[in-house]
């Protein structure tokens, strides 16, 4: 089946579920995606009336992780009198995982959230396509069969869908949300653990320490510190990010290479066992920095050391929130 039919099917069943939830007053609002104003874009949207469900869309540019609007709640999801509204969230696998993990971290009440599950078929790496098209304006993008067709003034190029989806999507094992605590309606799955050989990381891991450093430097050097990656990240919900703190100032705030690297590496460390591999950080970066490497690496650390994958269960405590006497601690020096 081609992508178009796939998307149509996902869209129709998602609208149906949303309509039913709104009509039955099971939720007060639904947050989903709507048509963007540019090629290869989409926009987040909150609807509160069943007749608006047709504004919701699904395509392979729905790259924002909608859970990011839940913590802290955007104004549209809070009623001045009633407090937190009950919200249905159109959820591809990683959005569902984010919601579940936010629940585990005590950031939201699953009684107030309905995960409207959809079987995600992959998000296109728009930054990569933009880069390959180069200094020509993309005016129209469509999909046909398994191809992405990009058109502009005097050009038309085709890209293979399987090749041009985000790297995290290529590795994704959780396409539709896990069904946890009956918070999920629509397309969900029972999934307790995933297996992954992380073969895509082999090349990076084989590098020497110095080569790794150079690789990361090269990767991050264009960062402008606009913090789009942080703001789009559903797990970066701190009221005051470590990098913004000024009493005392922990880290430099400039765009010196050292300050840039410190920001990204510490942010990655903060995401160990928390990152849900949605790839939103990569999709939103205005400079086209591919943060996939850092995402995959932190995911692997949590998996290898603690056999933990974020957002699959509301019961299992994540490694950074838990402690066990059996925890591997080979870094501790033995006392003689």
């Amino acid at each position: 089946m081609g992508l178009e039919e796939d998307n149509k099917k996902i869209e129709e069943s998602m609208r149906e579920t949303a309509r039913k939830l709104l009509e039955d007053k099971e939720v007060d609002a639904v947050i989903g995606y709507t048509e963007g104003t540019l090629p290869m874009s989409s926009m987040a949207m909150v609807i509160t009336r069943a007749e608006d469900v047709d504004k919701l869309i699904w395509n392979n540019y729905c790259y924002i992780n909608l859970a990011t609007y839940l913590v802290p709640r955007i104004a549209q999801l809070v009623d001045p009198e009633k407090g937190d509204l009950k919200v249905g969230v159109i959820s591809k696998g990683c959005v569902g995982r984010a919601i579940i993990h936010l629940k585990v971290e005590g950031q939201l009440n699953l009684d107030n959230v309905k995960i409207i599950g959809i079987p995600c078929n992959g998000i296109i790496d728009r930054k990569r396509i933009e880069k390959e098209i180069g200094q020509k304006e993309i005016l129209e993008v469509s999909t046909s069969g398994n191809e992405i067709i990009v058109k502009g003034r005097d050009f038309e190029e085709k890209f293979a869908f399987d090749e041009y989806i985000l790297n995290v999507c290529k590795q994704c094992k959780v396409k539709s949300p896990p069904n946890v605590d009956d918070a999920c309606v629509g397309e969900c799955q029972e999934i307790e653990s995933v297996s992954d050989d992380y073969s895509d990381l082999a090349e990076f891991e084989a590098l020497s320490a110095e080569e790794k450093w150079n690789h990361i430097t090269e990767l991050l050097e264009q960062c402008t510190k606009c913090h789009a990656c942080r703001e789009a990240c559903p797990m970066c919900y701190c009221n005051l990010c470590f990098v913004d703190q000024n009493k005392p100032i922990w880290f430099g705030k400039t765009t010196d290479l050292s300050d840039i690297i410190v920001f990204h590496l510490i942010r990655s460390i903060h995401l160990v066992g928390r990152c849900v591999a949605c790839g939103a950080c990569t999709s939103v970066c205005p400079m086209g920095i591919d943060l996939n490497l850092l995402i995959r690496k932190v995911e692997r650390i949590a998996k290898d050391r603690f056999d933990f994958t974020s957002g699959l269960s509301s019961k299992v405590m994540p490694p950074m929130m838990d402690f066990s006497m059996n925890d591997s601690q080979e870094f501790m020096l033995e006392e003689d």
Partner: protein, 344 residues
């Protein structure tokens, strides 16, 4: 002074005429077009739509040292910048960005009441070589905010891309003096000038977004508390992309890098954005713009209401960067269209 012709294979020769300048030009770094100081004319990218980061980054870099200091006993020795007499040339600046320097200079001088010496001196020592925009993007709307894809007035020298060659026009006295010295430049023919005119006409027709900045300014006056702001902020993720890629955003934060071991330090300014909660946080802990709603409103208000009131010009040049690169596709064009619809 009549127009000249610069063949594209003569760019190296043209570059050599500016040996006493810091030469900044669009280069391609990892797929991003950026204005960088070059030392080899082959690095210049001639075929580009517009740079990702505007050339404001040359005169107002993301990080800039204001002064350095050092303690000697109880005395503080201030070391002021000694590089402000350096000369800059910006090659290949699009008319929207060339115009933006004027808007920025307004902010950095505030009618002569509060002059930022660093920015203004640098600007004075900068020569802008503008380049007409043959193919404006769908996201461009310069013609609605005091610009035009072929507006030359803000450049010292203006180039029009005629394919294999550029039509060169000296605009300012500085520009005229320089072009006069380049006796090797051929004179433009009438056909060249005619072609440039046609390109200008075609480019202007390609700009389809029209906004009524004056009407918007009036509407904004009355609608500080309109529900539209909640709508505008709905999908915003709250990052600083729009501000950092904006050629007219001038806000900065001042930080201190002090080395306690040597007792030396630097006072630095870095780009800041009104979209960050910390930007408007007061010492008391009170934040007058506590949510994205107030912060998104401020950005629009600043460009289309406050700036026009202070300087009689719209504070946006219509380059469309915030439209193209907003992570959440929060499209300024649609926001302005919606504001236009508010009944007054």
């Amino acid at each position: 002074m009549s127009e000249k012709i610069l063949n594209k294979d003569q760019i190296g020769k043209f570059y050599n005429e500016f040996s006493d300048y810091n030469f900044y030009a669009p280069v391609n770094e990892k797929g991003n077009i950026l204005f960088k100081k070059i030392s080899n004319p082959d690095e210049i990218v001639l075929d580009f739509l517009n740079s990702k980061i505007p050339p404001k980054s040359v005169l107002f870099p993301n990080k800039e040292i204001l002064f350095e200091y050092e303690y000697e006993g109880k005395d503080v020795i201030i070391k002021e910048r000694d590089d402000l007499d350096e000369k800059y040339v910006l090659f290949g600046v699009r008319p929207c960005d060339a115009y933006s320097f004027q808007l920025m200079a307004n902010f950095f001088s505030f009618h002569g009441n509060c002059e930022d010496e660093i920015y203004l001196k640098k600007k004075e020592n900068t020569l802008i070589i503008g380049m007409g925009c043959n193919t404006p993007k769908q996201t461009c709307f310069c013609t609605s905010v005091g610009g035009n894809p072929f507006k030359k007035e803000d450049s010292d020298i203006f180039l029009v891309d005629l394919g294999e060659k550029y039509l060169v026009e000296a605009i300012s006295d500085k520009g005229k003096e320089l072009i006069q010295k380049m006796s090797w430049l051929a004179d433009a023919t009438n056909a060249d000038k005619q072609k440039a005119k046609e390109l200008a006409k075609k480019a202007e027709e390609m700009i389809t977004t029209q906004i009524d900045a004056e009407k918007i300014n009036n509407i904004l006056d009355e609608n500080f508390k309109h529900p539209i702001w909640k709508e505008v902020a709905e999908s915003c993720v709250g990052c600083g992309t729009c501000a950092f890629l904006c050629p007219t955003c001038t806000c900065f934060d001042v930080i201190e890098e002090h080395d306690h071991y040597t007792n030396k330090g630097k006072r630095i300014r870095i780009w800041d954005t009104c979209q960050a909660p910390l930007y408007s946080m007061e010492t008391s802990g009170h934040n007058p713009r506590p949510t994205k709603i107030e912060r998104c409103r401020n950005r629009i208000m600043h460009k289309f209401s406050y700036y026009p009131k202070n300087y009689d010009l719209t504070g946006c040049v219509g380059c469309g960067r915030c439209v193209s690169y907003c992570p959440a596709n929060n499209d300024l064009r649609s926001i302005l269209k919606e504001i236009e619809q508010i009944e007054s």
